[in-house]
Symmetry: C2
């Protein structure tokens, strides 16, 4: 098959959620805007909703016939885009499975392993190469440089440079900049998780990304903001496969974030720098510990 209809399936599932809370559905363009897909996809969704008896659809009238049941949803593993599947498989191989630095990466083998065409794997590797973990030998294979101590140190060196600058810039955002509200919202989630840390510590990973990305955005520099992708992906998989002491680690990081947030609000450069440095230092140590 040429293309998996994962966009359709994923949007369909989200549409079931909308449908669950309403007796009727809005116009095609509005649905499209809400789900972030084109009208073509919306019409496929509506057609299927009608087909499985969830909806009567005639032009503008879209009447919900019954609430969706679990069986109406497409299974989760059919809604992931190919790029996501490839990324996960690949990261599992190189982060979780003990892949040696210097190892050759074979496009064809990877593709067969994942059950996909070579083109998609190739494009993934090209995209992924900017993370500095692999390198191409032209007309030949890719080389795995590995998730090594050096990698982590180089990564965090740049991260610290960038984040210190972004944090300093944050203090100069105008009073009415939406970032301040977002900061309030993020703080609230921090407190909520901390209050219920034994249960909710797993939510930290996502919150961490949200917070740091907000800070980096204050730099208004695309290179600094884009670089955060690398941090995010490394930490994302790092959290996912390295759960030792997760509760304690995350509780500490949450506390550090709160100090950091407080410093940002104070707009005091010294206070910001100190809080930022302190947090980045412990983040680096956490990362390094997971390597050796």
């Amino acid at each position: 098959m040429a293309k998996q209809n994962t966009v359709f399936k994923e949007a369909f599932n989200r549409c079931l959620d909308i449908l669950a809370g309403s007796d009727t559905l809005p116009s095609e363009p509005e649905l499209g805007a809400r789900l972030g897909v084109s009208r073509t996809t919306i019409r496929s969704i509506l057609a299927r909703l009608e087909e499985i008896g969830l909806l009567t659809w005639d032009k503008r009238t879209k009447v919900v016939l019954r609430k969706p049941v679990p069986g109406d949803f497409f299974p989760d593993d059919e809604t992931d885009s190919l790029a996501e599947i490839i990324e996960r498989s690949f990261m599992r191989r190189i982060l979780a499975g003990g892949a040696q630095p210097g190892m050759q990466i074979n496009e064809l083998e990877l593709a067969r392993d994942i059950g996909t065409g070579t083109t998609s794997v190739r494009e993934f590797l090209i995209r992924f190469s900017r993370f500095g973990l692999i390198e191409k030998r032209p007309n030949s294979h890719w080389v795995l440089k590995g998730f090594t101590r050096e990698f982590a140190l180089e990564l965090t060196e740049v991260r610290e440079m960038f984040e210190l600058r972004s944090a300093a810039a944050f203090a100069h955002l105008p009073e009415d900049h939406p970032a301040w509200q977002e900061l309030d919202a993020i703080e609230a989630v921090h407190r909520a998780i901390l209050a219920d840390i034994d249960i909710r510590y797993g939510e930290f990973s996502e919150l961490d990304e949200r917070f740091h990305l907000l800070v980096q955005k204050a730099s208004k520099n695309r290179f600094i903001i884009d670089f955060y992708d690398i941090i995010a992906i490394v930490f994302h998989y790092h959290y996912q496969w390295n759960k030792a002491n997760a509760r304690t680690r995350n509780a500490n990081a949450l506390a550090e974030h709160l100090v950091y947030i407080d410093a940002l609000r104070s707009r005091d450069p010294q206070k910001i720098e100190a809080a930022c440095r302190a947090h980045l230092k412990s983040a680096r140590e956490t990362l390094l510990q997971s390597i050796n």
Copy 2:
């Protein structure tokens, strides 16, 4: 056709240069190492050399029959890899041709324009996207963000951060590190070009890249070094299509480099920082002038 044999043609041309200065050719593996290609390609080259009567080839004996003439070489436009062709076409479109920021980029149209398949264009765009000049809308087109003033400012901001750090690190390289010799060699070329500036000012572009890359390498950080690719490509095309006052600009930059080199050799952090800042400042201004 599935693949152009540009590797063969390009290596063949370089082999003619080797052949011009010798009566015989070395072993296949050695030739391969010298030209940076596999033995398979070497054997194709040898076969063709024999075919056009430049060589008798029987196992180890490879006797040159005559000197190559211009007609023996493959034409230049057949030796560029597809990736190079695509890059040039694309850069001409967006830097030379007045492409508007926000413009959509169409893979199919680009491919037809360049006379190539869509896959290659696609892969190029993915690779190129890390330069921050284009952005992908998933399942839809690419958007040209444009070579704008903001782009130049964001680029130079990071460049300055990185280069100041690299320059500082340079001072700490051990006495016997090869970088010091390379620095001497680079300085010598500077002086040679300056002594003959009216004729040789065009050689500055390449030298500039060589010098700054050497400095960045002192950081020993792959992200810093890789970032220099972006600088290099931007300045490369910038020099190529913006020749106004090139002689004066390059003469100034050469002089600044000499001060900078001298500072590096002194290992005095303050002197280094001052020289580095001064040069980066004027480099930034030069770049900005070419935009508005």
